[in-house]
Symmetry: C2
Subunit: 316 residues, 2 copies
């Protein structure tokens, strides 16, 4: 099978296993009110040619026992790359065909004690170029350093067999990517973020396929143990309020800066699937300082100045 076909299968089966793992946590929390993913298949029409250009499967869970809203998208699309996107990718061919497949997810738990998570893994082909990209990052509303450390440890374990340089490099890229300039803070406590792997080293594409597979498959172990640890805890009304306000920053990042969102909206992607990343309930409030107590201030400090989680002593 070609790399293209293998990538498509990889991301499609990742979607399946992630959804199953999330549903099993729902069942653990409450067998009666456990949320289930529904499926929405869609076909893409090429904005330039009007031809059919692949499609995807959106899977959405709403109003679960743990998860207020979660979307796990799979897509495999192809067509003619818009000129503006060619320019961005520094591939200037006049006209270029592309193929892209990936899985992308955002999960918004109801409890402010359980962090929001985002992950995305993708394979791209344009003309004679091909590359992998992806990452996973955690956005807590109450800072538990143990949780941040666990998340980063699992990601590091999935990176290390491929190169000991990958985790530190992609951890740093994650902090940079999810920085919100107008707030002077990051979206959350980070994770890893990588892109264009193999674009200039086609001989290493197989290596990057295995690397992306490894990071993608670590997602369930990186995130769900945190959920299971926190999902039975009671939370305060102020924690909920703070979560809703922090979710506003999540929206600001996604709509103003996120490349995937902007690219998707600009190229006529499926709006419902692109904006599935937005939280179900959000608040904005006019105030200069969001943090109203010590715990919130500790979180804000970490967002203003990213932490090197894995060099902290384990029992902080």
């Amino acid at each position: 099978m070609s790399l293209k076909e293998r990538s498509r299968h990889l991301f499609s089966s990742m979607q399946q296993s992630i959804c199953e793992a999330i549903e099993s946590v729902e069942t653990k929390k409450s067998a009666n009110t456990a949320g289930r993913f529904r499926s929405d298949e869609w076909a893409r029409v090429d904005t330039l040619t009007g031809d059919h250009g692949g499609g995807g499967l959106s899977r959405v869970l709403s109003g679960g026992a743990v998860f207020e809203q979660g979307g796990v998208n799979f897509s495999a699309v192809h067509g003619t790359l818009p000129p503006i996107m060619q320019k961005k990718l520094e591939i200037d061919k006049g006209s270029a065909d592309f193929f892209a497949t990936g899985v992308s997810l955002v999960i918004h738990p109801f409890s402010p004690r359980v962090p929001t998570v985002h992950a995305n893994f993708r394979y791209f082909e344009v003309d004679s170029y091909a590359w992998f990209g992806g990452g996973a990052d955690l956005t807590p509303y109450v800072l538990y350093e143990d949780d941040a450390i666990h998340f980063h440890e699992e990601l590091k374990k999935s990176c290390d067999p491929f190169s000991s340089e990958y985790y530190p490099l992609f951890k740093k890229e994650c902090d940079q990517y999810f920085f919100i300039p107008h707030r002077k803070e990051t979206r959350g406590v980070g994770g890893v973020f990588f892109d264009y792997l193999g674009k200039s080293e086609p001989e290493k594409l197989e290596h990057f396929f295995n690397f992306t597979k490894s990071v993608g498959e670590s997602f369930v172990n990186a995130y769900l143990p945190i959920v299971e640890k926190r999902m039975h805890e009671e939370w305060t009304p102020r924690e909920k309020e703070f979560q809703l306000l922090r979710r506003g920053r999540y929206v600001e990042f996604n709509l103003v800066y996120d490349r995937g969102t902007q690219f998707g909206l600009a190229t006529g992607g499926r709006t419902e699937s692109i904006l599935m990343s937005l939280p179900p309930e959000v608040r904005w409030q006019y105030e200069n300082e969001l943090a109203k107590n010590e715990s919130e201030e500790r979180l804000m400090e970490v967002l203003r100045c990213p932490v090197d989680w894995l060099s902290l002593p384990v029992n902080v």
Copy 2:
């Protein structure tokens, strides 16, 4: 007094009279729980030179009897225009000084029966160019055609003494400006929108000053009678839910497309004042069709295909 000074005074006093009018409606609704504007004065630091560059006065009302959140900003700033902005304005001087003053407001009522409103009036000077811009537009969550007609009538009355061509032209520009491409709908039922008035006709700047003054001064009569008419009505839980979901579209427009927001965030404007336009409480939900009943569908139809309100018979 120079046009610059007169514009500054005009917009500053507009802020004052609009805030007073809004507070008087609050008092009419409930003398005990009437909301009051608080004031926040701020100074601007030029992003390029680090020099002080004017400032503004933000006035915010939160948790009123009628208005959940409202912000009325005045600013008068000056400095060196960033190169990216020079390019946008087609003024390529290498280095150019600018002066800008204006008033800008967004009011989010609590009741879904009372529409959200936005208005902005401004004067700009760059190098030897000067111009006026502004507009006002209405965003209802329940469609009352009478209200839309009233709003447009008042705006038209304020435009007509200056030219009978202004209202139809600026009404159309408003529909175009507030179009949300990825939703294929406008933000609301429109109003008027104009920009660069006088940039290529400096001999008409006095005319455009008076025009901008006239439209700005019509705002209170265009909006507040609608508020007073609707503020005592009971609303249903579904109307509230629909309002929160529609507010999501408001956020999408402001963060993804609004030039003022993007310019403000990109040039280091005061984040709290720029994002004051975002609604206090918002919902997003994964679904292809927002409208769940006939009344909602009627609103959506009007958003998908802008209506020429003033050629409708008055009693629809």
